[in-house]
Amino acid sequence: MQDTVLIVGAGPAGLSAASTVTASGYKAVVVEKEEILGGAPIISGYAKLVPSGEWAKDAIGRMVSRVEEDSGVTIHKGAKVESLDGEVGSFTAKLSNGETVTAGAIVLATGFTHFDSINKPEWGFGTFEDVLTTTQMEQMVSTGKIACPSDGRVPERVAILLCVGSRDRQIGREWCSKICCTVSANLAMEIKEISPETDVFIYYMDIRTFGLYEDKFYWKSQEEFKTKFVKARIAEVTASPDGRLLVKGEDTLVKRPIIIPFDIVVHAIGMDPNEDNPEIAKVFGIGLEKHGFIERAEHYTNTCGTTRRGIYSCGAAYGPETIDDSISQGAAAASRAVADLNALVQKAS
């Protein structure tokens, strides 16, 4: 068992971890609760990824096939870890499919859950058909056609509302979801590309297209695709009798309330802790930080650690994370796991 790493979750982080484990000459067992691999980008049908611009099904698809074709990886789909015994070097996990996995170390790549906009009802999701989330809009982009779900008309105007389910103490979500600004700018460009007659407005309180995302997404969406950024956090979305949506805010630069008609309103939904985290914490005996994400161990010398020895984590399980960084962290966590096992072998000999 000291040659095996158990990886829970097969999103970008988990897939990256699995490949890193086998590349180091160890075996990986991947447990994924869904019937397919790929995690959020595949299951939610993301369109083009940030920042590569590759379609999710191609880019993450490559990661999936690399793992599926890897003889060093055993995959359990549609399964969860139900209980865990042992300690570093000799963990035994019982799976919901009846199988038992023994492994020397564990990587939790359990990711996140998209914020459910239904919890912010005044923004109209679930009330009006033309109020969508970014994931739904990405799915629409994937179909190659931009149309109002209510009646199929081509929208003249689309509003993207940032910070839906992020930075909002009213609903207990104090964190910034990090990537929505960039994703929204990207989405604005994709919409304009498919539907040049559609104008896209992004309502923001700050723009956080950090690092190299600045010019590639923020500037580009504005300069090349004429996306308009309006400094207003939206208060309420209602509908006017002609079926258009009315977006109510204060344009804080004009210092006036605004009530502006739109055809589609998109919620840039944030990243919640995986809704299974309480269960995951219990099964694996690890701690959660105060927002409900997996608690990170002291980071400087115990990189990718959790509160339990031999169990590591990575990616969005720790908190909102980009796909690229999740992939890197998956590799890092796998390295930590392998290093652990290596140390045990060294110690024994």
Binding site: Y218, D251, P257, I260
Partner: protein
């Protein structure tokens, strides 16, 4: 009944009928006062494109509202209402009514170009203000500015003669702007010219002023040029 917060309401949003009886009830004055709301109801999606077609407005869409232009502005230091960043924002969203409220100050831009120099995204705010000023003139929102009058006199002269005769342009400008043709400084200027310039030169100038010579074989060039400029303008602004 007094509206205490009256100073918080722009006067043109107060509706009051001084003397009014409705259904037999006297509701004169403040009893019938209503206030019209101040919220913004829509954007004019085409306005940004309109301004981009004016010289100087091309890059208005690049603005991200950092405020460097306003911070560096010579006029802003004099008058905080003079706010290029704000006008650029209004232009982008097509909030025309708000821009028009500042019609009497936008033209005060002194073209120092500090804003254009400092702008991190090459918006060229100075150009945007010019574009806005011209748009307002075209719409009849503002009177033509003196500089526009000068510009037009200047070009009329060129179309007509293919060259510039300073005195004629100046007189034309004075006429258009209803200024007296004889001005104190001009008289002084003339006296000094007479004192220092050779007589032949003075005679030539006097003659040119009276007959306004044209460039050789100018012919219909002026008309063609004028037609072309009109055409270009038409194409740009519709």
């Amino acid at each position: 009944m007094a509206i205490h917060e009256k100073s918080l309401i722009e006067p043109d949003r107060l509706q009051t009928t001084e003397s009014l009886v409705v259904d037999g009830v006297d509701v004169s004055g403040s009893w019938n006062t209503m206030i019209t709301p101040r919220y913004l109801r829509d954007y004019d999606d085409d306005f940004e494109k309109t301004i981009q077609k004016y010289g100087g407005g091309e890059n208005v869409h690049r603005c991200w509202q950092c405020g460097s232009c306003t911070n560096s502005c010579t006029m802003y230091a004099q008058n905080v209402q003079f706010n290029p960043r704000y006008w650029i924002y209004l232009t982008r969203l097509g909030l025309k009514d708000e821009i028009v409220k500042d019609k009497d100050i936008i033209w005060q831009c002194v073209s120092c170009n500090k804003c254009t120099n400092i702008c991190p995204k090459d918006v060229r705010p100075e150009g945007v203000m010019k574009a806005l000023a011209h748009w307002m003139e075209d719409q009849g929102i503002t009177e033509k500015s003196p500089s526009s009058h000068f510009d037009e006199t200047f070009w009329e002269e060129i179309y007509h003669t293919g060259r510039i005769e300073d005195a004629a342009v100046m007189m034309g400008f004075f006429k258009r702007t209803n200024q007296p043709l004889v001005q104190e400084w001009l008289v002084l200027f003339g006296q000094r010219m007479m004192k220092y310039l050779p007589v032949s030169q003075l005679l030539k100038m006097g003659l040119n002023f009276i007959v306004t010579p044209r460039t050789k074989s100018w012919g219909k060039t002026g008309e063609v040029l004028k037609a072309y400029v009109e055409e270009q303008k038409e194409a740009a602004h519709g």
